[in-house]
Amino acid sequence: MINLRGTWAIYKQEVSRAWRAIFGTIVSPVLTTSLYFVVFGSAIGGQMQAVGGVNYGAFIVPGLLMLTLLSESTSNASFGIYMPRFTGSIYELLSAPVGVAETLIGFVGAAATKSLILAAIILATATIFVDYSIAHPILAVCYIMLVAASFSLLGFILGIWAEGFEKLQMIPMLVLMPLTFLGGTFYSIDMLDEPWRSVALFNPIVYLVNGLRWTFYGSSDVNILVSAGSTVAFLVICIGVIAVIFKTGWRLRS
């Protein structure tokens, strides 16, 4: 039988850890994203042409939200599981009556929750600087939750894989951030000339950014079903990888 109290204990502990580090987990990303809104939304955005009928300041809101979601979901979950490994307190988790499901729901749920709170704050903050609307609010929330969960799972894998803080930062900083910047956060890939437009289609983040942008403005550079489908597929792959990690004990049990 599933250990619901164990799941709740992990979840509560992780959320409480984030609350203790509120500057790093909430204040810092909100401030950074707000600066993007100020610079690219208010200051420069006023001088830019509308993109696909959406004014530039509003156009970048989903992309910036996705940028924060990806980096925060990944780093929250990776830190969440890496810290017990680093401090040695992982022994307690491994010796407790909690299986892969409870562990994942606890850690990934907490990381995703933090990302959702962050997303809500960022969207609220964005209203101060830019005028935007959300065409499909329920789908937007669902999509944000899907992305937060998927990248929290990725973060969880990274937290198990990493053998030091440097490796922990490697994928978010060297892979996710560049791909997000090049994934249509600040522009529509339709604005790119060939062959760069075709090259951009190989960037998976393009599908994520456009998926979220569709929920905001009803238009997208790519097929929305491909966006949603690939995100779900990514989530399933991550769960599969984690199941294998727990089954083999890789980097967890000796």
Binding site: M1, N3, R5, G6, W8, A9, I10, K12, Q13, S16, R17, R20, M83, P84, T87, G88, S89, I90, Y91, E92, L93, L94, S95, A96, P97, V98, G99, G249, R253, S254
Partner: protein, 312 residues
């Protein structure tokens, strides 16, 4: 009575080829304090890890509370507590929150009264809202114990519980272990301090190079392998051992100036024989000016076993 822990043929070979456990068979009885002794790298922590879920055994079986660890791991883990050797926790968290976390993790409902009781028994009550990083090393170790006790385990593993702690804390720990035994908790402790095993344990197991060399009641080990040693310093050197002492385990040393007795059973026989030897010496007019007597400790027995093992 069925053992609370029953290990059969447990082997662990690490990927580098190191065999940390080699076909270990071990039974631990309900309600006892079992001390597992062994030098560094003997396999003590690996054995605990295999039972508690940190180590994946290569082969063998582990049963606890009559259940199989492979299939009934949830039920078993719910009833096991572990105090690890290394201090490992979120040092920025508070004592209270960490203990609540541990209790929840093991599936127990929150219980303020029980948590207060545990904190009080470990003299942590006034520290409950302190961050762990602000506590002394000894207090941090108490927190680890509180975490392990938070879900009221029936079987408690203490991996080197008093390593690096001061004498006062060590005595406190011994008292606590005694209390837990009185409450019916079965305790398995690994230790370097043989004195600790001698003081606390009902039964002792000696492990080296992944193999269990000996498991027995502490008193039985002392009786079987314990020795008493006495050194009689003689006023006049003797050329030979008097006929009347031939039946005792005595020998002459230092050019006949010291008569050494080694014998007994660690349970009083040695003392009686020393008294008899003293009487015989006096009867034979052999005057001794000093007498040193020493009972062999569990440590002597342990060292002797290790030396025998090393000699092959």
């Amino acid at each position: 009575m069925e053992p609370i822990l029953d290990i059969r043929g447990l082997t662990k070979t690490y990927s580098g080829g190191l065999k940390a456990l080699d076909a270990v068979d071990l039974e631990v009885r309900r309600g006892e304090i079992f001390a597992l002794l062994g030098p560094n790298g003997a396999g003590k922590t690996t054995l605990i890890g295999a039972v508690c879920g940190m180590v994946r055994p290569t082969s063998g079986s582990i049963r606890a509370f009559g259940l199989d660890l492979k299939s009934d791991w949830r039920e078993i883990r719910q009833r096991i507590g572990l105090v690890p050797q290394e201090l490992g926790f979120d040092i920025f968290d508070t004592v209270d929150r960490q203990i609540r976390y541990s209790r929840g993790l093991f599936g127990r409902a929150s219980d303020d009264g029980r948590i207060t009781e545990i904190l009080r028994s470990l003299q942590l009550l006034d520290k409950r809202h302190d961050q762990i990083r602000k506590l002394s090393g000894g207090m941090k170790r108490r927190v680890l114990i509180a975490k392990a006790l938070s879900h009221d385990p029936d079987l408690l593993f203490l991996d080197e519980p008093t390593a690096g702690v001061d004498v006062e804390l060590r005595r406190d720990m011994w008292r606590l272990i005694d209390q837990l035994r009185d409450q019916g908790v079965t305790i398995i402790l690994t230790t370097h301090y043989i004195e600790e095993a001698e003081e606390m344990a009902d039964r002792v197991g000696i492990i080296d190079k992944g193999r269990i060399l000996l498991v027995d009641d502490k008193d039985a080990i002392m009786a079987r392998l314990g020795r008493t040693e006495a050194r009689f310093v003689l006023e006049r050197p003797q050329q030979s051992i008097p006929e009347a002492l031939q039946s005792y385990h005595v020998s002459l040393h230092d050019e006949g100036k010291v008569l050494v007795y080694r014998g007994g059973d660690g349970m009083g026989k040695g003392k009686a024989e020393i008294a008899a030897i003293a009487r015989i010496l006096i009867e034979h007019g052999i005057i001794f000016s000093a007498l040193d007597q020493k009972e062999s400790s569990l440590e002597d027995i342990f060292v002797e076993l290790m030396e025998e093992q090393a000699a092959g």
